[in-house]
Symmetry: C2
């Protein structure tokens, strides 16, 4: 219970990379970038950081909710993007919030909003704090008297389970593992496992339109929301618990993806599933990523609905420790809580064979064994690597998008080339850009790009931003979306504004003005900040 | 090409009930209501109706688009609800629009909106004209100089087919059969078959959140929309064509279900499917509707995704000519364009057997034979029956809702009892109220109620409205939704306003004020009309 989260990295303070993991990262970096020696910046300490004095003072009535504790302010300064890590290791915590709020109830949230309204204080709603897009950073400009990070972490109960409809009412601040642990005795699961699962929350997933681990069908949090309770500066919005409705534009859909700019999600009824008991999985190799992609397209259009259909570029497979780097790897898996899925896998593999895929069926245990297991372990550890990579000057980040199949091949080539060129331009030497599919739809894939570059310690931030901007430019001009499941935040705003129809932006701003007339909520996210 | 639509009924003027169908309706009515003789009101003629002089005149620039033709004004006066038929047969066409517009392009739509803005004329966007909720009625009050029904029927092309992503760009005014005929050569289908299919349009489906014929998974039009083009008084909104995106609240979702109140949908990219080639179906009998419902719940939660899982009350099955009236009937069917579905049907039937269901597998051809076929034929003919029922004084209508499984049994009993009591109260004698499931979700069903009552010719409208109001009251107070797939229109507004969160209503009104500052578009629908 006394474990503290790192204010400068991923997870708890006692969770560090093993010496073996550190050696591996150094070795890969040395070989990729021909670097003999890495200079390691030590991790920052609370005492090293000179925080500005809080511009807001705590009223007596909110003394149990608000705090000025320096560690809390540091912990809530950033999300967990490359840009955030760079600033953490540079000891730059200038955007720290003045106060941190820990409400215990929706009523507490309303009280904080009322006080913030009187004080002209900006409110930055915060779930697990794992944003990789600047979504929870109190960079609110001079128009406010100060900023408060509103952490929902104390609203963390599973309030009610409806076993008949397979749904539960759950508070927004619950972390993934606690949510699943509470549902497990009933044999139920939300079955939503984003990479940030350990340290992200239900409310955060809903506010950012999180994508789960599974590749098709029910994987996005959007589809799991049955109803919502949202506290706005104007009052509470509570939607009706319904399996479906045709009554006007769906109210929930206004708040799903609202990124804290329209209200504070305090709890939700979410749709659950029984825990899967049937599994079948295989690893398939393809001569190239594009031949694999064609097989994935046909599978995605066949109505088979695999739990996993993760296609990795040859190099990506090798970096993740799965595959020898000569061929593209497809992890194909099916799951069910009700019936065997061998026939679905067999049909999926038939399609793979039609497209030049070769495969080995996996041992009993399905997705838990073989190449998939190696990949999965690396996937879970990956967020822990970033802070060490930044400490030794390696820039590493990801970006994702979605595009229809008809445009995929040139889009993929163009975006990858743009990122590669940007790395050379920014750092003076080649980096590595790889791609995989995280999700696929009948009409197109969600390509997920990972890049690595050797940075210059004195210019890491500029280099990281130049590379990210070049990638976003290439995506935007080629017709993709600037984000498939990482949200908009502050980092994606320039491209989001180009991507969305201007009049939709105006309508959204009008809706925000109705719900948050003073513009206190997450200023600058989704709706441009007031001047 | 010269076939004209009935301005007072369903379909074309040459489509009438057969003498046999008329006899059947009289016989059922005579037996249900103990009526010896029915007085038949003749169908109205254009020449009988005294229309008010149009309050708007046609500007030279729009002469090719606008018309004052009396038949056109009559055709666009009403939708096709019971309330509409009652007024048609009463020769009451007072809400007739002053003009009817037939734009040929999005530019024409913009020109009509610009002119309407200058003239302070209300615009009622109209697809196939089959609304059953008063969605296209020019009842706009005195705040406007007049009203124009904007018929999208000339925007009816399939513009582009993307066979790789399985999607097509299609204009909003195309009718169901023309849309499917245009896609058939490519082996593709939208696979969206609402009961109104013959005479409803893609744009109408999107504007009203139409539900298709299929029971699970991809059936609602919401899920088929890949992108939209919408003309508003402020300009054009065109969303990006994407398989998915996590960038803020989804722009398309604001316009899906917007019922013409936020803009005029002129075309959409929609997701298509290959035409199914594998089918397996069976008819299952259950001792009661509630035991059948329990089997349906388990099937809906099993991840089997049947194309059809239509549960009919014993009497509903008998009225539709399928089943002997002693047991509930479940039509269970699976379809695929890719792989055999026998195993899925077998598993579904196993679940049925676990819940007391008895069944006969259907002959080769699946859903096309047996009880399902009888039911399907009746289903398609049913809209044609209404005008004759009203002509002989039989009130007959439907209403639908959705509710989570945990509340279903008492909800069903309560709503049914309320409708039955309302029929007695309104007409002085018992009627018939039956129920079926049109769609099912893992967390709840969409119950669809049909009712019949013997009306008094002089009071049909009051009787129909009293019964509809009692049903909507019962649904609203029991936690259901006032509409699953018939939309809100003018008829459901009082209950819709109670169902939705008040602050969502305020946000929607603010969005409308941004897109339609003068409030010209479908006034009174979704957003209360300006005072």
């Amino acid at each position: 219970m006394d474990r503290r989260r790192k204010f400068w990295g991923w997870g708890y303070e006692d969770q560090r990379l093993t010496p073996g993991e550190q050696r591996m990262i150094r070795a890969i970096g040395a070989s990729q970038f021909k670097v003999a020696q890495f200079e390691e910046t030590p991790v920052p300490q609370v005492g090293e950081i000179a925080l500005a004095r809080p511009r807001l003072s705590i009223p007596r009535a909110l003394a149990g909710i608000l705090t000025t504790d320096p560690y809390e302010r540091l912990l809530h300064t950033y999300g967990r993007s490359l840009k955030d890590y760079i600033r953490m290791f540079a000891r730059d915590f200038r955007p720290a919030p003045d106060l941190v709020a820990y409400p215990h109830s929706a009523e507490d949230v309303a009280a904080v909003l009322a006080w913030a309204n009187d004080e002209n204080a900006a409110i930055i709603p915060c779930g697990g704090g794992t944003s990789v897009v600047g979504g929870i950073e109190a960079a609110v400009g001079d128009g406010f008297s100060g900023a408060v990070s509103l952490d929902l972490g104390k609203l963390a109960r599973v309030v009610e389970v409806d076993d008949v409809s397979r749904a539960a009412r759950i508070e927004a601040g619950i972390l993934g593992p606690a949510l699943e642990a509470a549902l497990k005795p009933a044999g139920l699961t939300l079955r939503h496992f984003p990479q940030s699962f350990e340290f992200s929350t239900l409310g955060g997933w809903i506010a950012t339109r999180s994508g789960g681990h599974y590749a098709t069908l029910y994987t996005q949090i959007d589809d799991f929301v049955e109803s919502l309770r949202v506290v706005t500066p104007r009052g509470i919005v509570e939607t009706r618990r319904l399996p479906a409705s045709g009554a006007g534009p769906a109210p929930d859909r206004l708040f799903i993806g609202s990124e804290g700019a329209l209200g504070v999600i305090t709890d939700a009824w979410v749709r659950l599933q029984r825990r899967p008991t049937f599994r079948a999985a295989a690893s398939v190799h393809f001569p190239t990523f594009l031949t694999g992609a064609e097989a994935v397209r046909v599978i995605s259009q066949a109505g088979l609905y695999p739990a996993n259909v993760r296609l990795l570029e040859p190099l990506e497979g090798a970096i993740a420790g799965a595959g020898d780097g000569s061929r593209a790897l497809l992890v194909l898996a099916f799951e069910s809580a009700d019936h065997p899925v061998e026939a679905a896998l067999a049909r999926g593999l038939e399609i793979c064979a039609d497209h030049g895929g070769t495969f080995a069926r996996e041992a009993e245990g399905g997705a838990k064994g073989g190449a998939a297991a190696v990949w999965r372990n690396t996937f879970i550890r990956m967020p822990y690597f970033k802070e060490f990579q930044v400490a030794i000057g390696i820039l590493s980040a990801t970006f994702e998008t979605a595009i229809t199949w008809d445009r995929f091949a040139p889009f993929y080539a163009g975006v990858k080339a743009a990122a590669e060129a940007a790395i050379v331009a920014a750092t003076g030497k080649p980096g590595v850009v790889t791609c995989r599919f995280t999700h696929v739809y009948p009409d197109g894939p969600a390509p997920y790009f990972t890049w690595h570059a050797m940075g210059h310690k004195a210019a890491l931030l500029e280099q990281a931003q130049a590379i990210a901007a070049a990638a976003a430019d290439a995506i935007e001009t080629s017709g993709g979306t600037v984000t498939h499941h990482h949200a908009v935040g502050r980092d994606h705003m320039p491209w989001y504004v180009k991507e969305r129809p201007a009049l939709f932006g105006a309508a959204l701003a009008a809706a925000k003005a109705e719900l948050d007339p003073a513009g206190l909520l997450n200023p600058g996210v989704l709706v441009p900040a007031r001047p």
